[in-house]
Every structure is written in C-alpha cells, then in structure tokens.
C-alpha cells in the first residue's frame, strides 16, 4: 500500500461517539481536526510501555490541533496518537509508518589485512561494508575461532563503547586487545596472545549484524588465516623498491614495500611530489596483500625527478610505525633517530 493511501485511510476513520473527529498525519505532523484549544494531543511509540510522549510542539489554530514531533516519525515504527478532551475517553489512533524500500542487502566487502598468513601480534583489522552499518554492540557479531579445536578465542578484541567506525559508517576498525599483545602486562602473561603461531583461525562476521537501515547482512563472512611469528619490525622506506614509470604515460609508479603495511595509513600517508615539491594529483592503491603500493597520476608523467613522501606514522598491521616499533625496550640501545618524514627519489625518463 502506498504511504499516501495509508495516510488517507487513517484520516478517514471515524472515531468514538459518532463524532466526525479525525486524527491524521500531515507532512510529518499529527493533526486533530474539530478540536478545541483546551484539548491536548499526545503521541507515543505504540507498545512501548511506560515511555513518555514524544517530544514536540503543539499548536492550535482554526479548530485544528497540530503536534509536530521534534524528530521525524521513523519508518517501520507504529505511533499511537491520543486526543485528550476535558472529559470522556481520549480518541486514539495508531499510525504505522511504512518501512523504506530496501535495496540489495548489505554485505561485507573486504577484510584487511587481506593476506591469509598474519603475525601473532596482529593489532588492527579493518572490516569494509558495502553500505553504512548500525553502531553499538558490534563486537558481538565478530568471532575468532581456532580451526583445529573449533573453539572460540575468548575476548580477543579491544571492545570499545566508542566503536571505531569511519565517518561514512562503512568501515569498522577492530583492534586486538593491546593488553594481551604487549609483553609484561597481566592479560598477556595470564592469557597469552590471542593468536598462536602455526595455528589456523577463522574470523567470522555474522549475518545477524544489522546495517543502518536495520536489515541483516546478506550472509555470514569468514576469513581464514594461518598465524606466523610476531612482527616486531618497523616498515623501512629506505629499503623499498621503486619502479619508475615512463615519461608521457599515466602508468603507475609501483613501490614494493617488502612487507604488508596498514592499508588505510598507506593510502593516506604516502604521497608523490614533483620536482617543484607540488603534490602530484592521482590515485593510490595497494595490491598483493598490501605489499605493493602504486600511484596513477591524473595527467601524464613528465621526464625528471619525483619524490615519494612517507609520513613516519605509517604502521604495519602490528602497530610498528616507521618511527618506532610497537614496543620498545628501555634496555635495548635506542634506535637511531628517524626523521618524521622519509623521502625516496625516482627518475621518470
């Protein structure tokens, strides 16, 4: 039934005492016709026992009492409007607001790091969804299961009330509990790392997770991976191998990073500068399980020297940044001071 038709039907229902007094919806407001200034109009979420009336403003004019809810009546909800007169039972009308049309179900598009071997001290995982998701209780939909035993790993993640969603609601950052990853801390000593080298795991994202429209995911998603020994080493830009493109083309400059890097940070923190230090406009991407960074310029390369600019806060998936490893021992010799920005030159011919 169309929304408009439903409203018309609701508006045409004759209510108590044979009176032709009607309650109807009009442009998101609830309206009582043939009302008096002494009447009051209240709107409730239907079936929500004990809840107060919706916040909003009532106005009276020319025999019409109008209630404008402070927030719009929401799709998929039922509202109970009550017109209270000076005496007698209130006139009650329930309005159902139709759900908005649902398109293709939302699905999990990718999990990063994308490799099927991951270090035991893995810190950060990104879940990418095809549409905005609902917030709150997200961790209950993510499970980590050890393959051989089929046992769930208990509390592997840092469960934050302030869930780490990207502004568009389509990417969630999941952190493995740093208390368990860091050596010398109680959780680490008592429970060990959540992941054990040599073992295989399944990271499962349940279809019960609701998107921002309140609809479940298309299907449950599973990522299988095997665990390798811990990675305590920082990304090392001086050791990266740059393959320069040819002048006059828009072929990408390709950089072999020698290890998997954090995808979000690599896309944000590596830039190409022209000889005049201007930022080259183009599109960066990561392939080969985030070990190859490439950059395609919008306009063809000119012959000459270019530079890659790498921000030192670039990390690998274990939280080791260019500037410092995730953990530093004060007993160890201090690493040589690393500039906060690294530059790598390449020549376009």
């Amino acid at each position: 039934m169309s929304r408009r038709l439903q409203f018309v039907l609701a508006a045409s229902i004759f209510l108590s005492h044979g009176q032709a007094q009607t309650l109807s919806l009009d442009a998101g407001a609830v309206v009582a016709s043939d009302a008096k200034a002494t009447h009051s109009l209240e709107v409730y979420v239907d079936g929500l026992d004990g809840a107060p009336a919706l916040i909003g403003d009532s106005t009276f004019s020319n025999g019409v009492l109008r209630f404008e809810p402070r927030y719009p009546l929401a799709p998929g909800m039922s509202y109970r409007a009550e017109l209270h007169k000076s005496s007698g039972d209130p006139i009650v009308q329930v309005f159902e607001i139709p759900k908005t049309a649902v398109g293709d179900p939302t699905h999990l598009e990718a999990i990063y790091p994308s490799a099927d071997t991951l270090p035991e001290n893995l810190l950060r995982v990104y879940l990418h969804f095809s549409a905005p998701m609902s917030r709150g209780g997200s961790y209950s939909h993510i499970t980590l299961i050890e393959d051989a035993t089929d046992q769930r790993v208990e509390l592997p993640f840092l469960e934050l009330e302030q869930e780490l969603w990207g502004p568009n609601g389509k990417r969630l950052t999941v952190l493995f509990d740093p208390g368990r990853i860091k050596r010398g801390l109680v959780p680490n000593m008592e429970e060990g790392l959540p992941l054990t080298p040599g073992r295989s795991y399944r990271l499962t994202v349940s279809s019960s997770w609701l998107d921002a429209q309140g609809e479940p995911l298309a299907e449950t998603f599973e990522k299988r991976f095997t665990v390798t020994p811990a990675d305590y080493n920082s990304p090392m830009p001086p050791q990266w191998k740059v393959s320069a493109p040819a002048a006059g083309t828009t072929d990408p400059v390709v950089v072999a990073l020698g290890e998997t890097v954090d995808r979000a940070l690599a896309l944000r923190l590596i830039d190409v500068l022209s000889r005049r230090r201007a930022l080259v406009v183009g599109k960066a991407s990561l392939t080969d399980h985030e070990t190859l960074w490439s950059f395609t310029p919008e306009t063809p390369w000119r012959a000459g020297r270019y530079r890659l600019r790498v921000d030192g806060t670039l990390e690998d998936p274990s939280g080791n940044s260019v500037l410092r490893p995730f953990e530093v021992s004060p007993d160890q010799p201090q690493p040589p001071s690393i500039p906060s920005i690294s530059y790598l030159s390449f020549e376009v011919r």
């Binding site: 004990g50 107060p52 916040i55 469960e159 302030q162 869930e163 944000r268």
Partner: protein, 363 residues
C-alpha cells in the same frame, strides 16, 4: 517566615552575579550548535557542559543555563525505553553514550544517538529528580567549539576524497580552566592527550602530548587512555588515567602542558579481562577513594589515601598490584557513573535487558 524570602533572594543574587561575568560564560555565543555526534560529557563551571563530538573531531562547550541549585536524587528505571520513547523510537534504535551530573542542579545529562547509523541525530537530554526527560535545545544555545588536532590535512582530503580517519573521544575532564581530552584514532595507534584552554580561543587550538605508561617489566608502552579523572596528590594536580589494557597511571598536569612526551607512573594493575569504563573520586569518613566501573570486574573501590608514597610498578606483576581495592558486589552492570554530592552517586547500569538510572549511596 517573613525573613526567609529576602535571604533567598540575597543568596540567589550572590550566585547569579559571578555566573554572568565569570567562568567563560561570556565566551559562549548563541546560535545553532551543530553537533555531528554527542559522546563523552563533562561539566565545567556554572552549568557549562562539554561534549565530545567524535564525528566532528571537536569539543563543544554548551551553556545549559541550568543554574538553579537542586538536591534531589535522580532515578529512572528503564531509562533507555523512556528516552527512546521520547525520541520516537524503540530502545534498539538509540544509543546512550554518556551521563554526567550537573553539579549545581543535580540533574543527570545524557548524550544520546537517535538512530544507529552514521546519520544518527546527536541529542542531549536531562533527567530531573521527578524523572522528567527534557531535551537541551541546540537550535539557539550559547556555545563555542574547539576542533581537535587532526593529522588529515584538508589538502589530503581534497585530493583523495573524504578521509575515513576518525578520532573516537574516549574521555574528557575539566580542571582549572582547561579541558583534557583522551582519544583513540581508528587508524594509527597513537596515545595523545590534548589540552584545550577554556574559554576556547578563536582558533580553538589544542596542545597535544604523547603519553606512555611506565616500564612494565622491560617494555615502555604506549596505549590509548580509556578513562581519566583530575586528582590531587599531595598538592600537585594529576590526572589518573585508566588504560585500555588495565594499568592505572598518574601524570602530573603541569608536564602535560609543557612537554611533548610524558611517561606516567603506573600505580596499579587491575587484572586481566577487564576494561575500565568510568571513574569518580570522593571522600568518606576522612578517607579518599576512587570508584571505578569496569567491563568485567565490577565496580572497584580504590583506596587512594597514600598515593604520594605509592611506588611505581616497574616489574611484571602476576595479577593485580599497587593501590589496593575492594569490589563492590552490590553494584552490577554499571556502565556510567558520576558523583551527585558528597555522599551519593548516580549510575547508569544494565539490568537484564534494560538500562536504569539510579542514585546510590557512595560505598
């Protein structure tokens, strides 16, 4: 009682005069406060409410104009259902993000997301001693805003499309004219504590310090702060910070403002499988305590009478160590807490499938 009325008027005048001219209220300008999200809350002077807006990467100062002294207890059973109803939704379609008590009126203020998607409306509500829910209108409210440091330059955004980086603000506190903000990025694993002067400067610039906890065994570690409170040890103002990985660490406030990197002193290890949620400090029977709500170890009452003499924990510990505490068994499912007065606190706690707002006696 003919004498009483004038005295009330006199005291009311005493209270209102400094309110109008001091405490930064004059820096708040009326207009629309366009909050993108409403997260952590803290009250400043004279009914000024600070709101952490993670989505906008900003701290808002809002004049609640709620300066009528009150003393009543706040109690609201099934607060989530009632708040959802007032906003026209069912409780599964809202999120209650934080709760703070206005120290003057004693009303509870709650930050709420109306909706669960990225377009959810940011709502600030108050609950008074009668259980009445009222919305703090943001459409014409004296306010100011301070943007947090954001390493994503506008330059980078323009060239690469919108950045997905966001800063989750995990806690904030007001002390001596400054707002302290702890946050956690959804990309790099940094642990910065930002300090913002209030009244906010025109540019609203913050200073940022990288903080570390002390040496756990051998490892100097950085980790995001989960919750913190200002606290005086001896006569020196400190921040007591509870970490995501359970240690309790103290930082001298003056160092946070003058240095770029501060290593705090670890004064307690509070055990595994635990995440601190919220903290308050109070005195009872001449002794000082901190009450800390946790994700899985219940509510802890920490004895903080001898913090000056507390040694830094520098060796790995087997379970818990440092400051002693007892677990308050009668308090279950506590997610938020704030002090109501010298003897009472208000808690927001999970009770079965509902959230209750309750006033309790400080243990």
């Amino acid at each position: 009682m003919p004498l009483r009325k004038p005295s009330i008027v006199f005291f009311a005048l005493l209270l209102t005069v400094p309110m109008c001219f001091g405490a930064g209220l004059e820096s708040l300008k009326p207009g629309v406060a366009n909050l993108e999200s409403a997260g952590v809350l803290a009250f400043g002077p004279e009914g000024v409410l600070f709101v952490g807006d993670s989505q906008a990467g900003a701290i808002w100062a809002l004049d609640t104009a709620d300066r009528e002294p009150g003393s009543g207890a706040v109690n609201l059973d099934a607060a989530d259902t009632k708040i959802a109803g007032a906003l026209g939704l069912t409780p599964d379609r809202i999120l209650i993000n934080d709760m703070a008590i206005n120290p003057i009126s004693k009303k509870a203020y709650l930050s709420v997301s109306r909706g669960r998607g990225p377009d959810a409306a940011a709502v600030i509500l108050s609950v008074d001693a009668s259980g009445k829910i009222a919305e703090l209108s943001l459409s014409n409210i004296p306010h100011s805003v301070a943007k947090l440091e954001n390493p994503v330059s506008a330059d980078a955004k323009d060239r690469r499309g919108n950045s997905l980086r966001a800063q989750a603000i995990t806690d904030l506190a007001f002390l001596d004219g400054k707002v302290f903000v702890a946050g956690l990025s959804n990309e790099e694993f940094a642990s910065n504590l930002q300090t913002i002067q209030f009244p906010f400067a025109a540019a609203g610039k913050s200073t940022s310090v990288e903080i570390y906890h002390g040496n756990h065994g051998r490892w100097e570690t950085r980790s995001p702060v989960r919750a913190f409170i200002p606290y005086e040890i001896g006569e020196q103002p400190q921040l007591l910070a509870a970490y995501t990985c359970t240690p309790l660490v103290q930082f001298p406030v003056d160092q946070l403002e003058t240095q770029t990197k501060v290593v705090g002193k670890t004064i307690a290890e509070l055990g595994n499988r635990n995440r601190p949620l919220d903290m308050i400090s109070y005195s009872k029977g001449g002794k000082k305590y901190i009450l800390m709500a946790n994700s899985s170890r219940g509510v802890m009452k920490l004895d903080v009478n001898n913090l000056e003499a507390q040694n830094s924990i520098t060796e790995p510990v087997e379970d818990k160590e440092g400051v002693s505490y007892e677990t308050i068994d009668s308090l279950e499912g506590v997610m938020q807490l704030d002090r109501l007065d010298d003897t009472r606190a208000v808690i927001l706690s999970q009770n079965g499938d509902r959230l209750d707002l309750r006033t309790i006696a400080l243990p």
